[in-house]
Symmetry: C2
Subunit: 152 residues, 2 copies
Amino acid sequence: MRDFSRSLPMSLLRAREAVMRQFRPKLREHGLTEQQWRILRALASIEAAEVTELARTAFLLGPSLSRMLRDLEARNLIERKTAKADQRRSMVSISKEGVKLMAAVAPSSEAIYAEITQRFGARNLAALQEMLGQLEVCLASADASDEIADGA
Amino acid sequence: MRDFSRSLPMSLLRAREAVMRQFRPKLREHGLTEQQWRILRALASIEAAEVTELARTAFLLGPSLSRMLRDLEARNLIERKTAKADQRRSMVSISKEGVKLMAAVAPSSEAIYAEITQRFGARNLAALQEMLGQLEVCLASADASDEIADGA
DNA sequence: CGCATTCACTTAACATGTTAAGTAATATCC
DNA sequence: GGATATTACTTAACATGTTAAGTGAATGCG
């Protein structure tokens, strides 16, 4: 069997960990986990979003997101109100405090990203992301055909 | 701020998830999680390994590995014995049952990997892994200089 | 209308990620 | 040789990943 430490999943895992290791200490200073930061960033760019939509954007599963929203709401970093038209849906938005926290963290975060870009090379970075995107597309089509085969 | 869904961490996360989504169902059929499978695969290629060494190979943190080894030992998939020379160290090895389970799963796993390789292209795959490796190297040197700055 | 189905979200349960603290054995240093 | 530090590993505590089940609201359809 292939040397598993050279397998694609392990390569991706190690690469991502190497990247996130750069960010985590700064986020931690502000009492944020990587995932909480993802939620705030996703919310920052829009007025309000439904939970399901937010889950897709922040790439989180519903149950994880549900817990985190509860906690973030308790910390007054986000706000929720149920939609008028459909009481099942709840609209989530970032609070003033949330915006303030983002403003405090964003400069460091940007600086770290810039440092990574500089080290790896902007061109390399773009090429890498292009390949990652293509990989996703390949495998998404694999999933789709599976679903058809399963009659889903 | 950059559109965070196009950031490197998110690209890596989505790509890895797209890959692992292909494997998880088959592992699940055999009652294995992704991480348990990593442990077995890491052990399969060597006689025995210390826990710390295994953690490095399977890219798991000590506490996670400690729990998983307890469970895998209870399922008789691995074996442990403390080293004679140094009673702190415990040597971990895969059991006969573990080998049997691996033999049962490996063909499907290989087939899935081959399918991914074919879809994405062997050349693209090699190029991607090369880039991921370089990214790791870049950032590892960043960590190293941080440690020096911190006096570590 | 009534009722089964679907939908949006939450809760539950268990496994792992992550950091800190604990434990026992070994190494170091005087 | 004995106090101290370090090492290898485990436990603890809390956050998230993951699947299944639960809940209440909207939809579809007779």
